[in-house]
């Protein structure tokens, strides 16, 4: 198992000297109980000194059989389960599921529900990126951003808590619209948050963007080309940081994103630093979308006409949304009964994690931590 590029060939040892000097390959196990793997991810690294020759991910420690459960629950009963997949972006998971079932039922949520959905989903994108930033910076050695981001994420969680009673596994949406009307003062609180949050992004950037240690640890680390991203099916900020201007909210608009004005931030180098910049810019764009949505929040019903007992006509539908981590798709097969015949979740984290091997080859061991962080995976979603 020697790689001609990394084996020290010119040393020309006598056979009796070849004890350990030629054995320059080392296999190291990282995780599953490792604080920087963001959950129960196990990585087996093949090293040459400090250099990574290749790695293999071992996953499945958090497998709960969500897809199997889906086949044994009604459409409504399965809805809260999807919040437990990507638990830092529960609202996005719910949106994808509800919209897919709505497609099967051939109904559409009313405009007010669509607006509230966009507001809550974009708030969720910010919250997810904040959590990513805090933990990613912490992994690399910057402790301060974690306190900043968690302090500000709290404000989003407060809005969620007031809206639907939950802070983490926020079961906010229902098939056909929303269960709850917004609480009194919802719009004002969202607007207050936006005013509060805009300068906070600058604050995060001040801590990191030109910070010498941050730049050294992230520039040219974990580089992946646009070509590799597409071949591997990598989506979300990782794809955009490699220079592909692609976002499902623009490419195939869902909910009512086509009514809002926003940009798709992209990077050029596809390295960890560019992915950081892309996510920071995405938070600003999310603020922009929420501002437009809350300013134009229409009055009206929040629930479409959906039967209490849902029996979608037999058929298959695939629908996907731009979750904070990439394309989150649901493939649901209905046989005309009250329970889905098959629910398939296309998780962005699972597919993106495949790129870890490509991104880490030739890097140092310490950079593996940076690359796992920059991929922004949630193991609840990888393993389902």
């Amino acid at each position: 198992m020697t790689d001609p590029n990394t084996t020290l060939s010119p040393l020309e040892l006598e056979s009796h000297d070849k004890t350990f000097l030629d054995a320059n390959e080392l296999v190291i196990n990282m995780g599953p109980q490792h604080p920087a793997t963001h959950g129960v991810l196990r990585v087996i690294l093949r090293l040459d000194g400090e250099k990574v020759l290749g790695l293999e991910c071992v996953i499945g420690y958090l497998h709960r059989g969500v897809e199997k459960i889906g086949e044994h629950r009604t459409y409504t009963m399965f809805n809260p389960y999807v919040d437990r997949m990507d638990y830092v972006a529960a609202v996005s998971n719910g949106l994808g599921y509800c919209e897919t079932v709505e497609k099967l039922l051939n109904v559409e949520a009313p405009p007010r529900a669509q607006h509230v959905r966009v507001i809550l989903t974009e708030l969720n994108r910010i919250a997810s990126h904040q959590l990513w930033l805090g933990t990613h910076a912490l992994d690399i050695g910057a402790i301060t951003p974690l306190f900043y981001t968690f302090r500000d994420r709290e404000e989003i969680l407060k809005i969620y808590e007031k809206y639907c009673g939950a802070r983490l596994t926020t079961h906010a949406f229902r098939i056909g619209g929303l269960q709850y009307e917004t609480y009194t003062g919802f719009e004002k609180e969202v607007k207050n948050f936006l005013t509060f949050f805009r300068p906070k992004i600058d604050e995060y950037e001040e801590l990191l963007t030109t910070n010498r240690i941050w730049v050294e640890r992230t520039k040219n680390v974990g580089t992946i080309s646009a070509h590799d991203c597409i071949a591997l099916g990598v989506t979300g900020p990782v794809l955009r940081a490699s220079g592909v201007k692609w976002d499902l909210r623009k490419a195939q608009p869902y909910a009512n994103y086509k009514n809002f004005d926003f940009e798709i931030p992209t990077g050029q180098n596809g390295d960890t630093y560019d992915r950081y910049l892309v996510r920071m810019a995405e938070m600003r764009q999310s603020v922009r979308i929420i501002q437009q949505a809350v300013d134009a929040l229409p009055e009206g019903p929040i629930m479409a006409k959906v039967p209490k007992v849902m029996k979608p006509a037999a058929g298959e539908v695939y629908h996907s949304i731009e979750a904070p981590k990439g394309e989150l798709g649901y493939f649901i097969v209905s046989d005309g009964s009250t329970q889905p015949y098959r629910v398939r979740v296309r998780p962005p984290s699972f597919v993106n994690l495949q790129a870890l091997d490509v991104m880490c080859r030739g890097q140092l061991v310490a950079d593996v931590i940076a690359v796992i962080g920059t991929l922004d995976i949630v193991l609840g979603e990888v393993d389902r």
Partner: protein, 205 residues
């Protein structure tokens, strides 16, 4: 399965306690009465489909359901069709590969590829039917991202992909018996032997 009588905390819908009956486990109730607004698949026509049909004849059936295009392709045409879609029709992104189990059918499995083309901004599905025990050619040489997706299909359904670089389980541990997303695998079922040997407990339930 001594634990089968234990029910999960939420009340299980009917049909849940019948893991042994493959056909009965799936549709718990008779199919719904036809809704007035229910969409039905209609033929899907496009220059691409016309070209493919011209080249491959009757092995392809192209349909649209709920505004989404898909084609049902004969198993024998699969390797060629996927190659053509990637190289000539610019479907450069393999979104997902998955399967559906219909135990009552002779060809028990539907295998589904969800493909997307960046240049065309178009999403399609390719579907084929295979019997239990049959294999499919791996599409890792076409889209390297198919690697884990195919491993998951193998793990959950037991469908093997020929020419896959590393055909082994991905979410469940090596050595686990059974493929959980098959309809004849009960929802509370597990590989008790594996659990006892590896976890040192009587049962994981």
């Amino acid at each position: 399965m001594p634990d089968e009588t234990k029910s999960p905390s939420s009340p299980p819908p009917e049909g849940e306690h019948k893991p042994a009956a493959p056909a009965a486990a799936a549709p718990a109730k008779p199919s719904a009465p036809a809704k007035p607004a229910a969409p039905t698949p209609v033929p899907w026509d496009s220059p691409m489909i016309a070209k493919l049909k011209g080249n491959y004849g009757s092995g392809i059936e192209a349909l649209t359901y709920a505004g989404q295009n898909y084609m049902v392709v004969d198993r024998s045409l699969i390797p060629e069709i996927l190659q053509v879609l990637r190289n000539e029709e610019q479907f450069d992104y393999c979104v997902d590969i998955t399967a559906v189990h219909y135990p009552a059918r002779e060809k028990q499995f539907d295998v589904v590829w969800v493909l997307y083309s960046f240049p065309r901004n178009e999403r399609i599905r390719v579907k084929t039917q295979i019997p239990d025990g049959a294999t499919l050619p791996s599409s890792v040489p076409i889209w390297s991202g198919a690697n884990w997706l195919e491993r998951e299909v193998y793990d959950m359904f037991g469908i093997k992909f020929d020419g896959h670089p590393d055909m082994k389980r991905i979410l469940l541990p090596e050595g686990w018996k059974g493929h959980p997303l098959r309809k004849d695998y009960g929802i509370l079922q597990q590989d008790n032997e594996w659990v006892q040997i590896n976890l040192g407990i009587e049962s994981g339930q």
